[in-house]
């Protein structure tokens, strides 16, 4: 059951990324490029995605547990920390440079050719380095 749900969700996610055009780096970079030929598509994708997801979060209050058992995720943590900010800035830089983020890098793998493979390999390597970088970040003396 869990695996069937994971497959259905993955297939919907991949279809959505592909249909919305988010596997096209021009659309992503076009959205980030406010001073160039600005492309509003990404805002519609985000807006569209948030609607069913917001309903789902509401349903987690009504449903006792997930279909396949277990429990729903805990409430989000309220406080910000350095990891969140530094990590998001680094991610944003990479996202802007190539116009790819983790989901689309997998969804476009079958037609992305060599650039797609190079990006994915580098991303996986980066994810491998992350625990080390995280440890270093936590050891760094706070700025104030």
């Amino acid at each position: 059951m869990r695996l069937l749900i994971a497959l259905l969700s993955g297939a919907l996610f991949g279809s959505g990324l592909y249909i919305s055009g988010m596997t096209d780096t021009n659309k992503v970079q076009g959205w980030l490029d406010v001073f160039g030929q600005w492309d509003p598509t990404l805002a519609f994708v985000m807006g569209g995605a948030i609607i069913p997801m917001a309903i789902a979060w509401q349903l987690t209050r009504v449903a006792k547990r997930p279909v396949s058992g277990g429990s729903f995720p805990p409430a989000p943590m309220p406080e910000l920390d350095r990891r969140l900010i530094v990590g998001s800035v680094l991610f944003g830089m990479g996202w802007g440079l190539a116009g790819l983020c983790p989901g689309p890098s997998v969804a476009s793998l079958s037609f992305g050719g060599v650039p797609g493979l190079v990006f994915l390999a580098a991303m996986l390597a980066g994810m491998g380095f992350a625990p080390m970088v995280k440890a270093r970040l936590d050891r760094a003396v706070p700025a104030e």
Binding site: G10, A56, P73, I85, M127
Partner: protein
Amino acid sequence: MQPEWIMGLIGGLLIGLAGAVFLLGNGRIMGASGIIGGLVDGSGHSDKWDRLIFLAGVFAAPMALMGFVGTPETNATDNIAVLIAAGLLVGVGTRIANGCTSGHGVCGISRLSFRGIIATVFYILAGGLTMVFFRHLLGVI
């Protein structure tokens, strides 16, 4: 122009539906970087088959749709140095921040998570500034 935002909206609804299925079905937050990253660093070992099957779906679905909708073209740069730098930054950044466009963006914002909203503001700002700097000032991308 018009068909593109309609396709964006339809695709977005499907992405949200995917997240809803994952949450209500398996009780998990659908974050691509977390699902992939857990396989890379071993933290997701206990449910690795969930993750692999999910990713197989993400990979295979566009192939099935090809020819019906969209253009199978990423228009990605062929500058290897840029691709490697971008991949490393995305890999390290999303794992340190514990989320990307799907986890913090779609799943976080939709439950009004403060961390998700702040993360999204910062990665969009960083992405926008990267475009200004590397496209308009340096002309690299």
